[in-house]
Symmetry: C3
Subunit: 357 residues, 3 copies
């Protein structure tokens, strides 16, 4: 798509932006005087200053009082981008290594109330597994024998449902139907064999008072690797993106922009993104610059992969997509319900970037 | 998926729950004392008490004042499940047998204001066809000659649109475009031949002041059987599930949990579910324990059936899915927009179960 | 589907309606007296007065005071339909012819605040490209070299993102990431080659303070024609339908019913509709009388075209569908989230019609 050298990376984005800005200020272009006649005069401003995809910028006119509101707004927008990716305390969706007990992979999940920083300085109450929002990422293989020990340190009862896994009924995690609620101070053990043929991108989350408990953070990714991965799903970078929109605002993996994590890949690499929606609203995720090929829905391979640049993910759904990262650059990647992504104070919430270096 | 015996059915779910609860209380496990050190001690609590999918429950610690809020909440949740399926007055979506008039199948629909019980004790005003919400289920065959006689006993004019049927324009049911409104006290007759090739899961509903009239209940299923059903669509159990979210709250076939109807099947049976959304919001319906294979969209066979466990149904859409009921148990089946399904008072609204006995 | 002669067109719809109304009033049918016994008497009213799809209408009973509220409502509904398609000032989505500069197609876009009439008498503030909402329709061919000169006459900075086009990063249109914001009074030039293989239905819109700017109208269609169109996508009528739901209410191509534009085709013609959602909500668009075959998603050909009558379009998505217009008539075409299309004052917002003459 493009063969220009590209040195953009998250490490030098700020430098790059300031360099480019300097460059652009030097570009020979013409200011519009404003008013209806200006458009006609624009003919003189068509000197394109870049050979490929060039952008010709008019210099700022001498400071006018009418610009100040625009500049104040721009400064807020610019500060957000400069801060990206902003540091915050805590990181969710971190791989959880099991201990092995006689061939069984044992995972311990402790549900507890914590403080969680969704964006710099924005601390919220979260109910979290192992101190993370989303909870730790579980990655097992079909056929594995696994054990989950849930410790409830909340002030409410809870239970864990393994969303997308086709398990025996009594480990389905539904209080009063398949188990009693796990009361404050109690522990509860789920043990099962990960079913063959049921691999893919699944989730685990509370299924008790769930509108509140999941909204506050009791959720995580449950990835099941196939014994024989198909060629299409083998990727250089495997990224899980959990969307949420509850008490913590609009978040990607528990953080809002600019504290979201960019997805970093190298030109030519194959990227797999596993979308998961744990919220209450749809989120049509739009990737700039490169299309996505949908290969699985709710873990199940689609019969014929299909392409898109905007993927509508509804609550409870998961989609696996492949992106062939041919185009270097910092590519915006955001929910296209624009009020989930931007306000007049700048971008926030469900915005991140795929950075192809 | 599981070969354990399973005796769960809607008839003994309450007994089963209390039995299991007793069993679990007897399980030999260890209480956590609470606090950070407790997780480490949990190692001693890993005796799994069931061979398959076993669940080990810690006994309740001695009654502590801090537990009471949790227990009050749990009791409300438990009471809802115990009540399921709760009896309410009235049942919607009941098959309507036509009378035959010289080879024409004649259906009479009377639109009338009624009281409707959506959940035990929750009575709402409904505008209903033949006293049912949803209205009576119409089931005909492609090529049938049919006549619908609408009697309007409402205080508003109305009209019927046959949603999904490709009919001559003058029976499309749109006041001022294809017919006059049918005024209070009047009757109106629609007669047409059900088009060949247009079989599947359709709907009928008011198309006059429809945001109010459909929201209040003037809607129903219109199922057209093909002359030659394909193998994939022939099922042991054929269940129609109409979703709504208007003035009556979040409902499945006109009722909210615990008054919703469970879908009862036997292990090994093939279940067909016909989803229809007559509301104003999407409803991503999630089935536990077994996946769904989508075979039709808006009545049209999909070119390649695809699998999911969460199916996003938008207003006006219909989806036909097949579930191969291999796994015995009581499987939760609900909208995954969690506030449509659960509050801190327990499950409500768009929750039901597929019971595989 | 129907072989009856049909003279309905937008030019004579009002005449047709009044004619039919007269006809129906003459129809020999029986009024119901009202009350529970009336339904039984209805047997005498089954004389169908039209051979095909005939509709038998009871005459109005003598004016009763209880009818007046219904009649007031009907009159409002009728007036809306009679007014359709209502004239308003301004028309959006008009083709923009480029000037050619040494083989480059040059388009000028001027962003400016205007007054926009969404429905008769309903004037709103809009931020528009070239005085249109949606902005002018861009139609180019893959491989074309194009230049877009943006003139910002707004009081806010802005920028243009070419949504769906796979371009070099520096023309992606994201302030502070790929370019500086284009400040009030400034111009900015984007130049690029429309990528091969990236044809289809795309969009352009502001990507700065976009929740506000796109909501106010800074958006348009960007159609890329393939060098070799496939047979399935070649149509007699090619219609672009941009949905929005921001500050201007629920609109189709910038207008609300009855000021929306009907889609006019002739019986037997092949209609291509390009759906685009520039709003914040889903819009499941329902076409009466004829199904739609989805051939592309976000510009990409779907691997296997699929059929529907209700197509759920989420923000940022585009779908291309084909309608084989076999059935003459005025076919309602609207969002099936009913409060986006009708109130007790009549139809409004996202309602239009496909008129097959």
């Amino acid at each position: 798509m493009t063969d220009r050298p590209n040195t953009l990376s998250i490490d030098n984005i700020v430098k790059e932006i300031s360099t480019r800005r300097g460059f652009l200020k030097r570009a020979a272009v013409t200011a519009i005087a404003g008013g209806a006649a200006a458009a006609c005069k624009e003919g003189s401003a068509q000197k394109v200053t870049r050979a490929e995809g060039g952008a010709a910028m008019t210099p700022k006119p001498a400071a006018a009082p009418t610009l100040s509101a625009a500049e104040i707004m721009d400064n807020m927008h610019g500060a957000g981008v400069k801060a990206f990716p902003a540091k915050t305390a805590g990181k969710g969706n971190q791989p959880l290594a099991p201990r092995i007990d006689k061939g069984v992979k044992v995972f311990e999940l402790t549900a507890e109330k914590i403080q969680w920083e969704t964006a710099p300085g924005q601390k919220v109450e979260a109910w979290a597994y192992n101190g993370q929002v989303p909870g730790p990422q579980i990655r097992v293989r079909e056929g594995d024998r696994v054990r989950f020990i849930l410790h409830n340190k909340l002030e409410q009862s809870t239970a864990v449902h393994f969303h997308g896994l086709e398990l025996p009924n009594d480990v389905d995690g539904i209080p009063f139907i398949t188990q009693p609620p796990v009361k404050p101070g109690q522990s509860y053990t789920y043990e099962f064999t990960v079913p063959l043929g049921n691999h893919g991108s699944h989730m685990y989350h509370s299924h008790h008072n769930a509108a509140q408990q999941v909204g506050l953070g009791l959720l995580g990714a449950f990835l099941v690797e196939p014994r024989n991965p198909s060629k299409i799903e083998r990727a250089d970078v495997d990224y899980t993106l959990i969307l949420n929109d509850g008490a913590h605002g609009y978040t990607c993996n528990g953080k809002g922009f600019p504290a979201t994590e960019p997805v970093k890949v190298k030109t030519g690499q194959k990227l797999r993104i596993r979308f998961m929606n744990e919220g209450m609203m749809i989120h049509p995720m739009h990737l700039h610059g490169m299309h996505m090929t949908v290969i699985a829905k709710d873990g199940w391979a689609v019969p014929a992969p299909w392409k898109c640049d905007t993927l509508n993910v509804a609550p409870g759904e998961r989609y696996d997509v492949i992106v062939n990262c041919k185009a270097p650059g910092v590519w915006a990647f955001h929910c296209h319900i624009l009020p989930h992504a931007e306000s007049d104070h700048g971008m926030f919430g469900m915005v991140t970037a795929v950075i192809v270096s």
